[in-house]
């Protein structure tokens, strides 16, 4: 091996070793989250979600999957997750609509409006705030934050006072008309604790939603957070959301 060859191999070897190491770390992280149910330690995790705004095509499959997976009432008044469409007009105005309440028929293409210069979709869900106002106000402790960072509602304890719904700045909660208790996104807690992905993430055809563990060193979400310009919704309210948006337009609230 001459000097030239040695250097060439070395240049290839070090990054490759890095990749290998990262992969093995990720495999280990996956193992930690995986089935061994008895071994699951919630304190090892701190779940969050990334949303790549530019990748969302507004197909609404996440909403449908969520409703099916979690028994969310079909009616257009109840959503654990939904998709908003923002239209920026040439005069600077912004109009917004929720495409999940009245999904347009797929075979019907909306007429192009020359006044609209740009549109984009924004998936919304519970922000699983690290500092959740809904948990603070619950009079009976029925809504709580798990050690792995998910805000849940104990429907056997909730008295249905709806204070948490008022306290949520994001409109992420509703009163389930069937259980008469507060209801919201759980990050599909029954799935993630078994190492599966939330239903909305699973079905997203463009991988606009990235689920992950902010405590995982080589986690996809951690990488997503590092490489993108991240914004959260209503940061001034100090709720510390764990749903992280990449390339979020300032118009989105």
């Amino acid at each position: 091996m001459n000097k030239r060859e040695f250097l060439k191999d070395a240049i290839l070897f070090f990054p490759a070793a890095g990749v290998l190491q990262a992969l093995s770390c990720q495999a280990a992280a996956k193992d930690a989250a995986a089935p061994a149910a008895s071994a699951y330690d919630p304190t090892d995790h701190w779940y969050g979600m990334g949303v790549d705004v530019d990748k969302c095509i507004g197909c609404n499959r996440c909403v449908e999957a969520c409703k099916a997976e979690n028994g969310v009432p079909d009616e257009p008044f109840y959503f654990r997750t939904w998709v908003e469409r923002y239209s920026i007009h040439s005069n600077g105005e912004t109009t917004v609509e929720c495409i999940s309440t009245k999904p347009a028929p797929v075979d019907q293409v909306a007429p192009e409006d020359p006044g609209i210069v740009r549109t984009f979709f924004v998936p919304k869900l519970c922000n699983q705030c690290a500092h959740p106002p809904c948990v603070q106000v619950c009079p009976v402790g029925a809504t709580f934050q798990t050690k792995d960072g998910v805000v849940l509602v104990d429907e056997k304890r909730c008295i249905g006072c709806r204070y948490c719904i008022q306290a949520c700045p994001y409109g992420a909660r509703y009163l389930n008309p069937n259980t008469r208790t507060a209801d919201k996104c759980t990050f599909c807690y029954h799935r993630i604790t078994k190492g599966l992905l939330p239903a909305c993430v699973e079905v997203c055809p463009t991988e606009a939603r990235i689920f992950g563990d902010l405590k995982g060193k080589a986690d996809r979400l951690v990488r997503f957070q590092r490489v993108n310009k991240i914004a959260v919704l209503k940061p001034d309210l100090n709720t510390e959301p764990k749903v992280l948006y990449a390339d979020l337009d300032g118009e989105v609230r």
């Binding site: 009432p73 079909d74 009616e75 257009p76 008044f77 109840y78 959503f79 939904w82 908003e84 109009t95 917004v96 609509e97 929720c98 999940s100 309440t101 919304k124 106002p133 948990v135 603070q136 106000v137 619950c138 009079p139 009976v140 402790g141 029925a142 304890r157 909730c158 008295i159 249905g160 006072c161 709806r162 204070y163 719904i165 008022q166 306290a167 949520c168 700045p169 994001y170 409109g171 992420a172 909660r173 509703y174 009163l175 008309p177 069937n178 259980t179 008469r180 208790t181 309210l237 609230r253």
Partner: protein, 405 residues
């Protein structure tokens, strides 16, 4: 299709069709409806009536002596009903006990049970008992049959009517009133805090909210006692003590001025700071709350009463006219304060937290969360008051004489 009730589906569909602009999809339903309007209205009257009564005991305002018992019983009657709208509003009323047994210390609402119980059991009932003890002992001696037992039980079978015991009664009731004033402030200021501490909702989230609630409570409590005093004198065909009425009128005037100043400050502050939410709040007022806020709450419920009360104090009207004016004023104020509760509770839920749209609220006529229930709850204190008057007779105007001083 889930098993949601037909009427709810109909209500929400209607509300959805009335949405202006963009709202978050879960915001179609009005979470806190008419019953939550009634709740602060009732507790406000409790706190206000009690504070009026306390003027007699703590500040020795002898002119208001004739309505002392009336004010206390009014507070009790409204207090007994005040918790009902909350209970009825719960999705799971059968779990309400959890608030007492497993309260969440960080929740403002969890403290409700304790504040309510403290005020009812620790203040109101004890104060009323000391006030009536001597009379109850005497009535127990004079009554026959069942009523003897009832009065005996109400006096907790005490017998002592010696001057020392009566002096103790007076002393005890004065001490309880002194503790009662901050407690009444707590009772209603706390209701204001429930709304004022919601940072997600800028219409509610104001540091002035508890104190605005408190002052409006005092206004409504005084107005309610004034209304009842005039009404009862008409029903009983008894002469009113005009000195007392004029004095209540004066307190009412002062309370309205302070309330008006605070509410104005709140609005001016919002307008001047002109934060992110100001545009949508402006639309909220002009599109949804113009009648209930500008016309009823401010013009009819505040300006007009203010004008009348100032006139009554500056122009020498005769007694009959004064009575009529006071009566009108009290009714206007009671309407205005109800409207204020509406504007806070419902108003805060008529605009989207996205600040991009307005919602609608269609009040149900029948059912649990309905106009019917609200009217029943608003009428119930008067029914209770009628029973209380039988059981614990207030000193009526015709029997009353000012204490010699």
């Amino acid at each position: 299709m889930s098993g949601m009730p037909e009427s709810l589906h109909e209500q929400l569909s209607h509300q959805l069709s009335q949405v202006i602009g963009f709202i978050y999809p879960n915001e179609v339903e009005t979470q806190w409806a008419i019953l939550i309007v009634v709740y602060p209205y009732l507790t406000g009257i409790v706190a206000g009536a009690f504070i009026l009564a306390s003027l007699v005991k703590v500040f020795n305002v002898v002119e208001v002596q004739p309505i002392y018992r009336l004010a206390l019983l009014t507070a009790l009657a409204f207090m007994l009903v005040a918790g009902m709208p909350l209970q009825l509003h719960l999705g799971h009323p059968e779990r309400a006990y959890e608030i007492f047994f497993t309260p969440q210390p960080t929740s403002a609402m969890a403290m409700f049970g304790f504040v309510y119980l403290w005020y009812l059991l620790g203040i109101l009932l004890i104060e009323i008992w000391f006030e009536y003890r001597q009379q109850l002992v005497l009535m127990a001696q004079q009554a026959r049959g069942v009523m003897k037992g009832v009065y005996g039980a109400l006096s907790l079978f005490s017998k002592d009517v010696s001057p020392e015991a009566i002096a103790f009664d007076h002393k005890a009731s004065k001490i309880i009133t002194i503790i009662g004033i901050p407690s009444a402030f707590l009772l209603h200021g706390y209701v204001g805090f429930i709304f004022g501490s919601v940072k997600a909702n800028p219409w509610w989230g104001s540091v002035l909210m508890p104190i605005v609630f408190l002052m409006s409570a005092i206004v409504s409590g005084i107005a309610m006692v004034m209304f009842l005093y005039i009404l009862l004198s008409l029903l009983r065909n008894a002469r009113l003590d005009m000195r007392c009425l004029d004095k209540i009128g004066l307190f009412l005037l002062v309370a309205i001025i302070v309330d008006f100043a605070l509410e104005s400050l709140d609005y001016i502050h919002r307008l001047y700071q002109s934060e992110e939410s100001i545009k949508i709040l402006g639309e909220l007022v002009s599109a949804k709350l113009f009648t209930s806020l500008v016309i009823i709450q401010v013009l009819l419920g505040m300006f007009l009463p203010l004008l009348i009360l100032v006139l009554v104090r500056t122009v020498r009207f005769n007694e009959e006219l004064r009575k009529l004016l006071y009566f009108t004023t009290s009714l206007l104020i009671l309407l205005g304060i109800f409207s204020m509760r509406w504007n806070v509770v419902i108003g805060g839920q008529l605009y989207s937290k996205s600040f991009r749209g307005l919602m609608a609220y269609k009040m149900e006529m029948t059912g649990i969360e309905s106009l019917f229930t609200a009217l029943v709850l608003l009428a119930l204190p008067f029914v209770i008051l009628t029973v209380l008057f039988r059981l614990l007779p207030p000193r009526w105007m015709d029997e009353h004489a000012l204490p010699a001083r």
